[in-house]
Amino acid sequence: MAMEMRLPVARKPLSESVGRDTKKHLVVPGDTITTDTGFMRGHGTYMGEEKLIASVAGSVERVNKLICVKALKTRYNGEVGDIVVGRITERRRSAEDELAMRGFLQEGDLISAEVQAVFSDGAVSLHTRSLKYGKLGQGVLVQVSPSLVKRQKTHFHDLPCGASVILGNNGFIWIYPTPEHKEEDAGAFSANLEPVSLADREVISRLRNCIVSLVTQRVMLYDTSILYCYEASLPHQIKDLLKPEIMEEVVMETRQRLLEQEG
């Protein structure tokens, strides 16, 4: 049995450990970004009294003449076409609903879906009109901040390490064993409840700890970063990845590899 107690260690500011040269321009709601009126205003900003003011807390990003503020931690804002993973909390209680849906979906079930439309109050309507969406079977859910999920062409990844992952834009990450027969299982509404093999479980647990490490160090989540982190974590035992110093070490190595890959 393992038991470790320790004294707390003060957190180091991230910029020191990353070694970034250019400092980010951080703003809070109400801060003036610029008084130059030539810029176009993007997300997270508004025009007031002849100057551009930030409406969210985050870092300022400038693309030519467009200024926007990227929030560090946000509630999820739906966009049409986003992939989301969601949990059913409540359902409409009508007679047809009872007869038709209850056989397939219960409260507490997880589903993957795509955003069809966004209402003005922020609510989204979802559809599962493709075989790759639908009820999710056995696996592990990790909840992270939506701002850490990178927008990509596809959010369904079959990682070479042996598991698959769905990176929901709403911050819900679903890790599951890669189904062997893709045609049958994808989108099926009856979950496979057979025990998952120990090897697959180890891969899934390792991935889960890797994702949690990346999130604590505020690294963007996408298939490459998760894969590099998985490979960097292989020398350590799965449960050792829960320790703060090992988390830092693994994420540092991942960051190095990502920088090398870009440069």
């Binding site: 038991m3 107690m5 004294l7 219960q106 507490g108 079930d109 120990l198 647990s205 390792r206 799965i238």
Partner: protein, 320 residues
């Protein structure tokens, strides 16, 4: 939610069987998460194979962070983080009159506040039931002669004694509340400094209590025999230690075992709607004793290490 809160209040006056069942059901799923059937099956199968969702074995604890002396205007305080479960305990020593049936002893009073910060279920009166239940468990654990030397808290028999008000604040809840709370209470009691007082009697026989001038002249409590709780959750055919919220949702019954550093069981309680057969209870108790000894040893070494760093140690506190 309000019905539950009223049900909890009624227990004090005259509990009905229905109230008890409702209360037991609610406590069986304290601050719970919703899980799908497939997720529960995955967790249960994993536990059978000794590989939990985060890679731990059935008897592994998550990393614990302990810091004492975090609140300056208390006699002793401690903050403990176990995973995302965050507990803050403050101890205040005040002078009062001893209880009638125990005139030579001081006593401890426990109060548990489930802050709404921990989980939305604790909003308003929602956390009161859980708070009272935890406080009652703490009273039960400390309700024996050897946990804390209560005679050392006596100033003058039948007249003055020290009362230690132990306040527990739940800041964040991520499963395994009882273990964390007990560790924090033990650490806070270790950190408690009670001012040394002398009773002076003058010629007419009236007593005067004199406080020593030196602010560092204090008496400390011996926490050698303060027990710690080990919660064992029954999941499938095995039991796990230090369950996360998701694992607690898959477990129908748990056993709370209160163990001292010598491995002696002081009290035991079963929570949850499910049943436990006697063999399981015996196995779980043995695991609890084994795990409890290691827990005490780790806690002692951390507390002594912190103390050896002296008053110049860098305090991390809440903004670290």
């Amino acid at each position: 939610m309000t019905q539950g809160a009223w049900g909890g209040g009624a227990v004090r006056a005259g509990a009905t069987r229905a109230d008890d069942v409702r209360r037991a059901e609610r406590l069986g799923s304290m601050a719970s998460v919703a899980l799908s059937e497939a997720e529960k099956v995955y967790i249960v199968h994993g536990v059978q194979e000794d590989l939990r969702v985060d890679g731990r074995g059935c008897e592994d604890y998550r990393c614990v962070e302990v810091e004492t002396d975090v609140v300056s205007n208390t006699s002793g305080s401690a903050r403990v983080k176990l995973g995302h479960t965050d507990i803050l305990v403050g101890v205040k020593a005040e002078m009062g009159t001893p209880k009638l049936e125990k005139p030579n002893e001081g006593y401890l009073e426990f109060f548990v506040d489930c802050s709404a910060n921990a989980t939305p279920e604790f909003e308003g009166r929602g956390g009161d039931d859980l708070g009272t239940e935890i406080a009652n468990t703490l009273y039960r654990i400390f309700n024996n002669k050897s946990s804390v030397d209560l005679k050392s808290l006596c100033i003058s028999p039948r007249e003055h004694c020290w009362i230690l008000y132990v306040d527990v604040l739940l800041l964040e809840c991520d499963g395994n509340l009882f273990d964390t709370i007990c560790i924090a209470v033990k650490a806070a009691l270790f950190n408690t400094r009670i001012p040394r007082v002398r009773v002076l009697e003058d010629e007419e026989g009236s007593k005067d209590i004199e406080l020593s001038d030196d602010p560092y002249d204090c008496i400390r409590l011996s926490v050698e025999n303060v027990p710690c709780i080990v919660t064992l959750c029954k999941i499938g055919y095995r039991h796990v230690v230090d369950a996360t919220l998701q694992e607690e949702a898959c477990s129908l019954a748990s056993l709370l075992v209160s163990v001292t550093s010598a491995g002696v069981v002081t009290c035991m309680r079963k929570v949850g709607k499910g049943s436990l057969d006697p063999e399981s209870i015996f196995e779980m108790m043995e695991t609890g004793k084994r795990v409890g000894k290691v827990l005490h040893a780790s806690l002692q070494s951390v507390l002594h290490k912190e103390e050896s760093l002296g008053p110049k140690r860098q305090k991390v506190g809440f903004l670290g």
